[in-house]
């Protein structure tokens, strides 16, 4: 469905937040795009990939950008950084946990700054709709890395903010982050389009030791320069329309109270406006498009306007009270009597919903809000996601269960469709953390085992996850000698995030063989088996569980969607 993304300028089309990000980048003349798929950011890479591979070429000249699925987010951001150093406008997209992987490069990158505009998109997932691991809040990177962060609320803003971010990035020679949340990334709405740009730039890496080498003592100067740069961007944030005061159109006609105010951003802003409409309240709302650097003077003026200081302000934000803490700090300077209400009415765990915000605003304003009389059913059956009918992982899990019947085995999980190992009817998942961690943890558990070998351990890791961050951990088990049984599930695609290619499963038949990598890592016990051949699969598991060194089974059977594409 990328046709809408490429529609003509001035048209109003219906776009998903993530599709609007793509359109915004095209309107900004993006020249280099890299990503590692991760929901809720996946559709960004998918759309660029579809546009790049469309036949006949979509939109004629549209192929003016380079796109890649990188091996992981760290490599993706480094590649986008390199392209920017050479003068290209680059975009890199990932989900929140990907940013953790990328952060090793991110921090020095913000120190050095960029040349071509560079935008980093990170998508958070409050309530963990499509995330294991944690309810991570990317905003924390503002104080960790000093990276400017913008927070759009709607698809229209997704498009407009990306364009703005490219300009900001180039003007101040600094990477700029766009932070989405699930309800922004997967929200659709009509978007007014502008024209797609094709940039011609001088593409050259111009050597500049002072800029691109982050060695001390220069690195300390860079730190100082960064802090000064942020203050300049703050001046820009002070006058930016991205930070504006909005009012609700109510039938009342006059402000409910001159003593109250609300500060919010992102999707929370939409719930606030909906609540004010519903409660028929007119309270000024400061909507912050910049999370970092915050327009401090604007906030101070909002809580202490010439018409008289506010008495109470409500901060509506999802997850941690970062905004609330900042407002608290600023209020001490200009309005120390201000009552700041935030997390006492707004939950810190889980995403917000319109009814939560409405009820919080009703309490904040002492407005009566009729309670609903809903007769909730006593129980609603829980329908967990399931492996697709015909999925090769059925063979893998069944085989493993057959081979280990009545044995005390620890099962390690990793990130992919095979996380479903933890649900019925499989129930073979004893730990689950982050991408690639199944092997590293397995090594630690095995090293901690008593001299007789202790419990046996089997880990599952997908092909794309293996490339992403499993390889160093595998080398570690060989180098530091432990003996888990690792089952690499090679289904020839990155299945969970929407069937993207990966190094051993590219669109063209020139993939990198997983076998060769495992061998080169020094693994002696290695076999590639189609798990549909249950007898051989079960026999090999039993045999490998007895080994004193690490062993690897590559369970090779394509995802049913890969078969469909080829057939």
């Amino acid at each position: 469905m990328f046709e809408n993304i490429l529609e003509k300028e001035n048209k109003k089309v219906f776009l998903l937040g993530n599709e609007a990000i793509v359109r915004g980048a095209l309107e900004a003349g993006v020249q280099f795009v890299s990503t590692y798929p991760g929901t809720p950011a996946s559709e960004i890479g998918n759309s660029f990939y579809e546009i790049q591979n469309s036949n006949p070429p979509a939109g004629g000249k549209i192929k003016s950008f380079y796109f890649e699925f990188s091996v992981n987010e760290k490599v993706a951001i480094e590649a986008a950084g390199g392209a920017s150093f050479s003068g290209l406008r680059s975009l890199v997209a990932m989900k929140n946990f990907g940013l953790n992987v990328a952060s090793d490069f991110l921090l020095p990158l913000v120190y050095s700054g960029v040349k071509g505009g560079m935008v980093i998109l990170s998508a958070d997932d409050p309530s963990c709709h499509s995330s294991a691991q944690s309810e991570e809040n990317t905003r924390a990177f503002a104080s960790l890395a000093h990276i400017p962060i913008l927070e759009p609320s709607t698809p229209q803003e997704c498009k407009d903010f990306v364009k703005f971010a490219f300009d900001l990035s180039e003007k101040f020679q600094i990477p700029v982050m766009i932070r989405e949340t699930t309800r922004v990334a997967h929200q659709s709405a009509p978007v007014k389009l502008s024209n797609i740009q094709y940039l011609k730039s001088n593409i050259q890496f111009i050597k500049d030791h002072k800029k691109f080498v982050t060695m001390p003592p220069r690195v300390l100067e860079m730190h100082q320069e960064l802090l000064e740069k942020i203050e300049k961007i703050r001046d820009f944030s002070e006058i930016s329309k991205l930070n504006s005061i909005f009012r609700s159109r109510t039938s009342a006609g006059s402000p409910t109270s001159r003593k109250l105010g609300i500060i919010t951003s992102g999707v929370s802003y939409l719930y606030v406006m909906e609540a004010l409409k519903e409660l028929n309240l007119d309270i000024p709302v400061l909507k912050l498009g910049f999370f970092y650097p915050l327009p401090e003077e604007k906030i101070k003026k909002f809580i202490n306007p010439p018409t008289g200081a506010l008495k109470k302000v409500l901060i509506v934000e999802e997850l941690e009270p970062y905004l609330e803490n900042e407002v608290m700090r600023l209020a001490k300077e200009v309005n120390c009597k201000l009552k700041i209400v935030g997390k006492e009415l707004i939950p810190e765990v889980g995403e917000l919903k319109p009814e939560i915000v409405t009820s919080a605003i009703a309490k904040f304003t002492n407005k009566k809000h009729p309670t609903l009389n809903i007769q909730h059913p006593t129980s609603i059956p829980k329908r967990h996601p399931q492996l697709c009918p015909g999925c090769p992982y059925w063979f893998v899990f069944n085989g493993v269960k057959k081979a280990t019947k009545d044995m005390d085995i620890i099962f390690g999980g990793d990130i992919g469709c095979y996380m479903l190992a933890g649900f019925s009817p499989h129930n073979i998942q004893d730990y689950l953390y982050c991408m690639g961690s199944s092997i590293g943890i397995a090594h630690g558990i095995k090293k901690a085992a008593p001299p007789d070998g202790g419990q046996k351990l089997i880990t599952f890791i997908g092909d794309s996850t293996f490339f992403h961050s499993g390889i160093p951990a595998l080398i570690n088990t060989v180098f530091n000698k432990s003996n888990p049984l690792i089952i690499i599930m090679n289904n020839s695609t990155t299945a969970m995030t929407g069937h993207q290619p990966h190094p051993s499963a590219p669109a063209e038949p020139d993939g990198i063989e997983i076998e060769s990598i495992v061998k080169a890592c020094g693994v002696k016990n290695l076999r590639t088996i189609d798990p549909a051949k249950q007898e051989e699969f079960v026999k090999t598991i039993k045999e490998f569980l007895k080994k004193d060194e690490v062993s690897v089974i590559i369970a090779r059977h394509p995802c049913i969607f890969v078969k469909k594409q080829k057939g």
């Binding site: 219906f14 409409k277 059913p377 829980k382 329908r383 469709c417």
Partner: protein, 196 residues
């Protein structure tokens, strides 16, 4: 939508029933009629046969992409057990349009139709159960279009304030070309049954 400024729909069902396509058809139809629209959907692992719930709101000025608790005008349930999830969004005026179709849950006993209806009736009087999957299977040989059938039915019966013609136009835009004929037949079938 004469005296109301907005219309809120929650569609519930299971992964693979085409909820997102229905959402896109509704959104395009609302766009044709000049409304402001917001939708919310979820992607990723939740789609693999799990419960799916998507929202669409249209009207003069729409902010939130999510329908608030108790504020749905229509709950469209593509699977009968999933209709219980709609109760959270319902009020006594909410219309429940339900596909009389069970997708079993592994390791769980199927709920009784009468028990489901009892729970729904505690909250709303406007409950319509239609064997859409059976009708589509019998008349068209395919039950995957049951959602399109219900949606078409809702527009012919004026349960949704969008003209049938807008729905058809939207379908033409959203549905892949090779499936459009089937979808159009489904639309006509719903019109015929709607009259009966």
């Amino acid at each position: 939508m004469t005296n109301k400024k907005e219309f809120n729909i929650v569609i519930v069902g299971t992964g693979g029933q085409g909820l997102i396509t229905l959402l896109q058809i509704l959104a395009e139809a609302a766009l044709i009629e000049g409304y402001d629209i917001k939708t919310s959907e979820l992607h990723g692992l939740s789609q693999r046969g799990g419960s799916v719930e998507v929202h669409i709101r249209f009207g003069q000025e729409i902010f939130s992409p999510l329908v608030a608790q108790g504020r749905a005008d229509l709950i469209l349930a593509l699977e009968i057990q999933e209709s219980l999830k709609g109760i959270y969004f319902s009020n006594p005026k909410t219309f429940f349009l339900i596909n009389k179709f069970f997708v079993p849950i592994l390791g769980e006993k199927l709920l009784e139709e009468s028990d489901i209806l009892k729970e729904l009736k505690k909250n709303s009087k406007n409950i319509v159960l239609i064997p859409a999957a059976d009708i589509c299977q019998k008349e068209l040989g395919k039950n995957v279009v049951a959602g399109v059938y219900l949606l078409s039915y809702a527009s012919h019966k004026k349960i949704i304030p969008l003209k049938p013609n807008s729905i058809l136009k939207a379908m033409e835009k959203v549905v892949p070309k090779k499936y459009f004929a089937l979808n159009k037949k489904t639309f006509e079938l719903a019109k015929k049954y709607g009259k009966d």
